[in-house]
């Protein structure tokens, strides 16, 4: 029975979707901004996985090319994001995402 199981494209895609959802959950529920960033990274990785899966399924190089750029973007984003966090934390050590809510209304 198990032998009959073939790993199809959908398996990868669904895995990616779940990963994406987990990442989104992290953004919605975690208060530590660093963990929120990590969750965003999870989401990006989910997308990367999707790209690669499609790339394989289509026998097309475009998807892998895209992943390459996503990686670069993610790296740059992390640098800037961590920079911002450093700037904030320096002023308010230990602040959570919820603490940073002076602007509202």
């Amino acid at each position: 029975m198990i032998a009959a199981l073939v790993v199809t494209r959908s398996w990868y895609l669904v895995l990616a979707a779940v990963l994406f959802a987990i990442g989104a959950t992290g953004v919605l529920t975690r208060r530590n901004p660093l963990v929120m960033f990590m969750s965003v990274e999870l989401m990006l990785n989910a997308v990367n996985l999707t790209f690669v899966t499609f790339s394989k399924a289509l026998n097309d190089v475009g998807g892998q090319l895209s992943v390459f750029f996503v990686l670069v973007v993610a790296a740059a984003e992390v640098v800037v994001g961590l920079g911002i966090i450093v700037a904030i934390m320096r002023r308010r050590p230990g602040a959570t995402a919820d603490d940073i809510s002076e602007l509202k209304g």
Partner: protein, 186 residues
């Protein structure tokens, strides 16, 4: 039971447990480590799907650089204290999140799985592999420097921004002030 299935199931388990670990670990350091686990898992799946170069980059850039950067910042700021995950200060955030995420996931899966055969026109950007070679680095490189050359060059701007941004953001405000006042004094 094919090898592929075994690999997929194992990796998927690693990926998902890593991902869940990221969002449930109280300590950000643990989260970062869990993230590494997921990233490795994804690298495995990359290999599984003929993306050897990307798998390497994934490990080097992501696990090697990005996560280290995370850890570095955590240590720098000393924000490694545990977060109390049992309480949620924003009252209805979790139920809402649950509904949203369930919906999102459901719809995504619905879109991805329905008519599972339907997929785009193959090899529009060129085939994944050139000849019989196991690696596709060459194909990827060719694509990168033809079709993707503009985006590739553009990433340079991105990196410049990242550099400038890091410089600006990590500069201590006091310094800027003292510099200005010094200038005014002279």
């Amino acid at each position: 039971m094919s090898v592929e299935l075994v690999v997929f199931v194992l990796t998927a388990a690693i990926i998902l447990s890593g991902a869940v670990g990221v969002i449930v670990a109280k300590n950000p350091v643990h989260s970062a480590l869990m993230l590494v686990m997921t990233l490795f898992g994804i690298a495995v799946l990359f290999i599984q799907q003929d993306a050897h170069f990307l798998a390497a980059v994934q490990v080097i850039v992501y696990a090697g650089a990005i996560v280290v950067l995370f850890l570095f910042v955590i240590m720098l700021l000393g924000v490694d204290q545990a977060e109390d995950l049992r309480t949620e200060p924003l009252g209805s955030q979790r139920p809402i999140a649950a509904v949203m995420i369930t919906g999102l996931l459901g719809l995504l899966i619905a879109a991805l799985v329905a008519h599972s055969g339907a997929i785009g026109v193959p090899s529009l950007n060129g085939a994944l592999k050139n000849g019989t070679s196991d690696s596709n680095i060459e194909v990827l490189a060719r694509a990168l420097f033809t079709d993707g050359v503009f985006a590739f060059e553009l990433t340079s701007v991105l990196l410049v921004i990242a550099v400038v941004g890091a410089v600006v953001l990590s500069r201590k405000p006091k310094r800027a002030a003292s510099k200005a006042s010094g200038k005014a004094a002279s």
